[in-house]
Amino acid sequence: MSRATILKAVRAAAAQRRPAPLMRQAVAPSGLKLAQSLLSGTLIARLCACGVIVERLRAWDAVPAAVLKVVTAAGQPLVIRHGADALFNTLAWNQVPNLQRRTGAASREDKTSLSRALSAISETGTLVLGSGPDNPVTLSFLPELHIVVLDETCIFETMDEALARVRSPGDAPQLPRTVNLISGASRTGDIGGRLVLGAHGPRQLAVLLVGGSQENGASEGRRQ
């Protein structure tokens, strides 16, 4: 049986050697908690450098109007799909009566999806999403335009901290079925080395960063 053969051979190989000295576990680069504004600024800069549209919003109230704005600017039909996340039901969608909403997994007809990120990594400009009824994983890959809302207080410097938000604590951590670290729209360099967006997944990624960000207040508008 292959399993027993392989494990026996692996053990035999290990028995011949002296184990490498134990190194300290992987650690966060700084250990210091950076100021929220610095984390946000770095995240926004990295995302923008990867062609992501970023809108800063002062409060959750502003999400529906911002979604409509992004959908309209992208020239997509005024229909979005999102998961069962209770957050979305608390938003004032009546401000944007033209925008239709559907819930559940994405299908081939869906052009725009809306997700909530569980956390984000400022060091690399990465959003962390978890799958489940609240956020079906197809939302992140089938539509052409993916809009992600992110609470500014969920931005961390490193992947370790950001993953800590999606795993259960303890020695045998549980994760959502898929954890998606997303750092930009779908892209390829496979044709003549030229960067082209929209290979198989979304052609555009937009982030609505929600937080009472002090200095600038309301939406700063599109940054690209």
Binding site: L22, M23, E123, S186, D190, G192
Partner: protein, 483 residues
């Protein structure tokens, strides 16, 4: 060490020297390779410079991989236990043949007619596509580069940029030739229009496939997750939409914890494409859960040995640290000159030179470790500090010890070694030769032809020495200098 041969890994092999000659005179290939330095190499540099202490990060990555290999059986068992807990089925395959049979069996059990595949080097290694196609199962590569190569009937020429040897014009010709259901007079204005055509075709495949097969960059032991890293999102559509997801991974891909994986991910994309992170990094843990509205109904993970346990026990063990970023080939002057196909190996470049002889036997691959200037750029950029030059040198030593080199090469090496061990003789011979060459070549400054060096002078001139050896000059300059 005992080196097993696995003939299934490669259909045929042509002479390396002939491949090199063909590659050097292939103008489109040279054009395509010409972009490496300003592209992947420059982008990696910029990404690495953006990290406070990349050197320390590499040290950490190396330590994590070493520690994992030291206790690999434990991590594999932990991975298996947690993967099963999450609802995955774990299979073990000692050989490529067993791995192919397991995958085919799974596909047949669900009556699969169409299989989509994410990019997976191990699937190339076990020659999976041919096996499935022979059983009447249509198998489609979904990574754009791999798809183009599948249409052209070629092997990848790079482990992360498989179609790096092709120009936009090559792809346009390929699409016109194969996509015959589309209007023949359609225009391709730019690369984006080619991507759009492939996207349209691939969408239908993603949505109608019965089985999705992906590789895994890492297997996270503490969660039982498999990790894939892509820029196109093809791997995610491959593993999400069909009812059955099969993951192929060789056993050394195990990583103990999420924290360890985070370190390796911080190294991977920066080293590979010069991105801080690829567009999509996905941790998958088991099949669709009860409340999930999407995802595969079954998830099967095939853990493949195919030579890894032999490597683990021997002197080439360090190659198992590899995280498959491709930086070693991007930075290799040989790879930059000849591209990946000339190596006739699933893994080209320095990592292939270190790995392929172990997987397929040295005798058929003895040219690979010779195809290096030993400049060491590969080692300098390797994110897990694999001593590639040392490993290639060890292969050369085995090659010589086994008497695989052609007689003329052996003769000259033996002659050189005889002289090198006798300093007076060495000094006499070199002084004589250099003086002669200096005197003869003095007027012109170089040689166009030289006996015994015809191969060298056929492609370039040999600069004429100035008449004295280094040792000679050294003696002069240090004479009278107090020690």
């Amino acid at each position: 060490m005992i080196v097993g041969t696995r003939p299934s890994m490669r259909a045929h092999k042509t002479s390396f020297n002939a491949n090199v000659r063909a590659a050097l005179s292939n103008r489109t290939l040279q054009e395509a390779l010409g972009g490496l330095d300003s592209g992947l190499v420059a982008r990696r540099r910029a990404a690495v410079d953006g990290v406070a202490d990349f050197g320390a990060l590499r040290e950490q990555g190396k330590a994590i991989r070493d520690r994992t290999l030291d206790d690999l059986a434990h991590h594999l068992e932990t991975f298996e236990r947690n993967a099963i807990r999450a609802g995955s089925v774990v299979h073990w395959a000692s050989t490529a043949l067993q791995a192919r049979e397991i995958v085919l069996g799974l596909c047949q059990k669900v009556g699969a007619r169409l299989v989509t595949k994410g990019k997976s080097m191990v699937s190339e290694e076990i020659a999976l596509n041919a096996h499935l196609q022979a059983a009447g199962i249509e198998t489609i590569e979904t990574d754009l580069g791999e798809y183009i190569l599948q249409l052209r009937g070629e092997m990848p020429s790079h482990i992360i940029a498989p179609a790096i040897h092709l120009t936009q014009g090559d792809v346009e010709d390929c699409f016109r030739h194969h996509h015959t259901h589309l209007p023949p007079d359609r225009q391709f204005a730019d690369a984006a229009s080619l991507v759009a055509e492939a996207r349209g075709i691939m969408r239908e495949k993603f949505l109608s496939a019965d089985v999705g097969i992906t590789g895994a960059n890492f297997l996270v032991a503490e969660t039982g997750s498999t990790v894939i890293v892509t820029n196109e999102g093809n791997g995610d559509l491959t593993q999400t939409l069909p009812r059955l997801h099969i993951v192929l991974a060789t056993i050394e891909k195990a990583v103990p914890t999420l924290a360890d994986t985070a370190v390796l991910l911080r190294l991977l994309a920066r080293s590979a494409t010069g991105q801080d992170m690829a567009a999509y990094t996905t941790f998958s843990t088991g099949p669709k859960r009860i409340a999930d509205p999407d995802g595969p109904q079954e998830c099967h993970i095939v853990l493949i040995d195919n030579g890894r346990t032999e490597l683990l026990a021997g002197q080439f063990r360090d190659v198992l640290r590899c995280i498959r970023c491709g930086a070693c080939m991007n930075h290799c002057p040989i790879y930059q000159a000849i591209g990946g196909h000339a190596y006739s190996s699933v893994y080209p470049g320095p990592i292939g030179a270190a790995l392929t002889p172990a997987l397929q036997g040295l005798e058929q691959n003895r040219d690979l470790p010779q195809a290096s200037t030993f400049c060491g750029r590969c080692e300098e950029v390797c994110p897990v500090k694999i001593p590639l030059v040392t490993l290639m040198r060890q292969w050369r030593e085995q090659d010589f010890a086994a008497g695989l080199a052609p007689p003329r090469q052996r003769l000259s090496l033996n002659a050189w070694s005889y002289a090198a061990k006798r300093p007076r003789l060495y000094r006499f011979v070199t002084r004589f030769a250099i003086a002669m060459l200096g005197a003869v070549g003095h007027s012109r400054g170089h040689f166009r032809h030289l006996p015994f060096a015809g191969r060298w002078t056929r492609a370039r001139n040999l600069p004429a020495p100035q008449g004295r050896t280094f040792q000679h000059l050294w003696e002069d300059t240090t004479r009278g200098v107090p020690r």
